[in-house]
């Protein structure tokens, strides 16, 4: 593990989870997972569909019936008797894959205000946070606060959902497949926005995805899940060095990594862990002897 001076903000200790436990339809989703996430870290929890990613996300804010001794937030067992779950949900903000599953109000401003209002913040503070969150997501407050949510595009609705979570000022932001269904331009815009937000607010960012392509640009570290187990955990480039191994899983590898795997047949010394097209171009030019 990394330098252990500071307590991790989130920790899973041999976490196991079975849906419909004790019934004939029981299915074991998580088979003993351990990892720690430090404050301010940017971590991608990646793996194919049904590898357990969403169950791990749900565990972070205690949306599951958890057993004690498995999930810790800020050093405290979230399943211990008497633990304040409502407080946990003010610390860990989750944006689910389908924005429509967490948009409650018809009007943009009202939806973003929902969380702060329920948390009992004064009206003036709520208004301030709505304005700040919408502006931060590139949905200018004066222009968008009275718009109908259903008349927005998919990408805009996803931003409204993120703004709603952002308005809660949680130190941890968890995004489940944030780029799914967005077009290339929408992807690039959201990516830049998330990188800036994470930096400005020093957020602990957890991105859950089957696409290592999007996650590699947002995160420094990958925890790779497969069939309910952690199969790799390390810095993004170290994980991508094992591209041949990863290619056996049904996940989206970054395009430059796919290219590098192919061109290795021509240049065996080409590195596997290439993150951008610029890097790949430079590596190829070097080997072609073109300066």
């Amino acid at each position: 593990m990394r330098s252990g001076e500071e307590a991790p903000i989130l920790e899973l200790r041999n976490f196991r989870y079975t849906y419909l436990e004790g019934t004939p339809r029981a299915s074991e989703a998580i088979r003993g997972i351990s990892f720690r996430i430090r404050r301010g870290e940017r971590v991608g929890i990646v793996g194919p569909t049904q590898s357990g990613k969403s169950t791990v996300v749900d565990s972070f804010s205690h949306l599951l019936r958890l057993k004690p001794g498995q999930v810790y937030y800020d050093g405290q067992d979230v399943a211990a008797p008497g633990y304040d779950r409502r407080k946990l949900r003010r610390e860990v903000g989750i944006v689910f894959q389908q924005p429509d599953s967490q948009i409650i109000e018809d009007v943009v401003g009202a939806d973003v205000a929902f969380g702060p209002t329920v948390a009992g913040l004064p009206a003036e503070e709520t208004r301030r946070r709505v304005e700040e969150s919408l502006n931060a997501l590139g949905l200018p407050y004066p222009e968008y606060r009275l718009r109908y949510v259903h008349a927005l595009s998919g990408g805009q609705r996803r931003r409204v959902a993120i703004a709603g979570v952002l308005a809660m000022h949680t130190p941890v932001l968890v995004l489940d497949e944030p780029m799914a269904g967005l077009d290339p331009r929408g992807r690039r815009e959201l990516l830049e926005l998330l990188i800036r937000l994470q930096k400005d607010r020093d957020l602990t960012l957890i991105v859950c995805s089957a696409s290592l392509s999007d996650a590699s640009l947002l995160c420094d570290r990958f925890v790779v899940l497969d069939e309910g187990r952690v199969v790799m955990d390390g810095p993004v480039r170290e994980v991508l060095r094992e591209a041949d191994w990863l290619a056996r899983l049904d996940i989206t590898l970054p395009e430059p990594v796919i290219g590098a795997r192919e061109f290795k047949k021509l240049f065996p010394d080409l590195p596997a862990e290439i993150l951008t097209e610029d890097e790949l171009e430079a590596e190829l030019l070097k080997r072609l002897g073109v300066a």
């Binding site: 497949e177 967005l182 929408g186 989206t252 021509l266 171009e281």
Partner: protein, 283 residues
């Protein structure tokens, strides 16, 4: 055949905030052709799908499917010829078991029982689902669910299968396997396929690529032709396949790459030839 002549569509027509989604579209798709339609969100491609399936009707111009004008009074005739599969299979699957879901459409056509059974069997086989016909849909992966949705559309024996971003929520390897299956399908059935997507690696698998922007068609041709327009594609907010983009950058740096480059294998072959050429000219 699908024919569009001067087709326009506006949402909130006549109001101050009207949105002109399609502007004078002309398009002809031959029977059995496989076409990828690409464009960023808001380019008009989903509106086009709604017009082809008689969910919306053109505000100007005319669409004909098999010679039948797409109008409200012909909506059932049109939908019998065009089957659509949506982005999220959960929006489309209605029954609990795989076989029952695939049988749902043909049952509603009032077909004889033997005919229904035959269609279900062949549709399941075409999508490689014959082993899981009895399974519960809720137990399937997202890729399998999308296959069930396509099998259901296929069981309607349409002349055109329209796929409205069915892969955008799937990991790339799963999506590519699915789209390869669909492409091989249409070869064996003589059915036309229109695939709406953002994915360039999927678009290159089709006979023809139509690029839309702001309600217009901006590029239309074989994949190799379309992906030569790297700058134009970027301008309309799309990505270019990495191999095509890299090839154009390497050419700009003087690397002699010949032929069309659509994927990594093409580029590796072109690079290999270029290396021999460079070695000869320096030796």
């Amino acid at each position: 055949m699908i024919e569009l002549e001067g087709v326009s569509f506006s949402y909130r027509m006549g109001e101050a905030d009207a949105v002109h989604a399609l502007r004078g579209l002309n398009l002809r798709i031959e029977p059995g052709q496989s076409v990828a339609i690409i464009g960023h969100n808001g380019s008009g491609k989903s509106t086009l799908v709604k017009l082809l399936t008689a969910v919306l009707y053109a505000t100007e111009g005319e669409i004909r499917i098999d010679g039948i004008p797409v109008r409200e009074e012909n909506q059932w005739e049109v939908r019998r010829r065009v089957s659509v599969v949506f982005q999220d299979a959960d929006d489309q699957l209605v029954m609990n078991r795989v076989e029952d879901d695939v049988a749902f459409g043909p049952e509603n056509l009032g077909l004889p029982r033997e005919e229904i059974a035959e269609r279900v069997k062949s549709s399941l086989e075409a999508l490689g689902l014959e082993e899981i016909g009895e399974r519960l849909i809720e137990d399937l992966s997202s890729g399998q669910k999308q296959r069930v949705a396509i099998a259901g559309a296929l069981a309607m024996r349409p002349q055109f299968l329209v796929l409205d971003e069915p892969t955008s929520l799937l990991p790339v390897p799963v999506a590519l396997r699915l789209i390869s299956t669909v492409r091989d399908l249409k070869r064996s059935e003589g059915m036309g396929v229109l695939h709406v997507t953002h994915s360039m690696s999927e678009a290159v698998l089709f006979d023809r690529v139509v690029v839309m922007d702001a309600g217009h068609i901006v590029l239309d041709g074989a994949p190799a032709e379309v992906f030569r327009h790297v700058e134009k594609l970027r301008e309309v907010g799309l990505d270019v396949p990495l191999a095509a983009s890299l090839a154009s950058r390497l050419r700009a740096r003087g690397v002699p790459l010949n032929g069309d480059v659509l994927n990594e294998t093409d580029l590796r072959n072109a690079l290999s030839a270029a290396m021999e050429h460079l070695a000869e000219s320096s030796g």
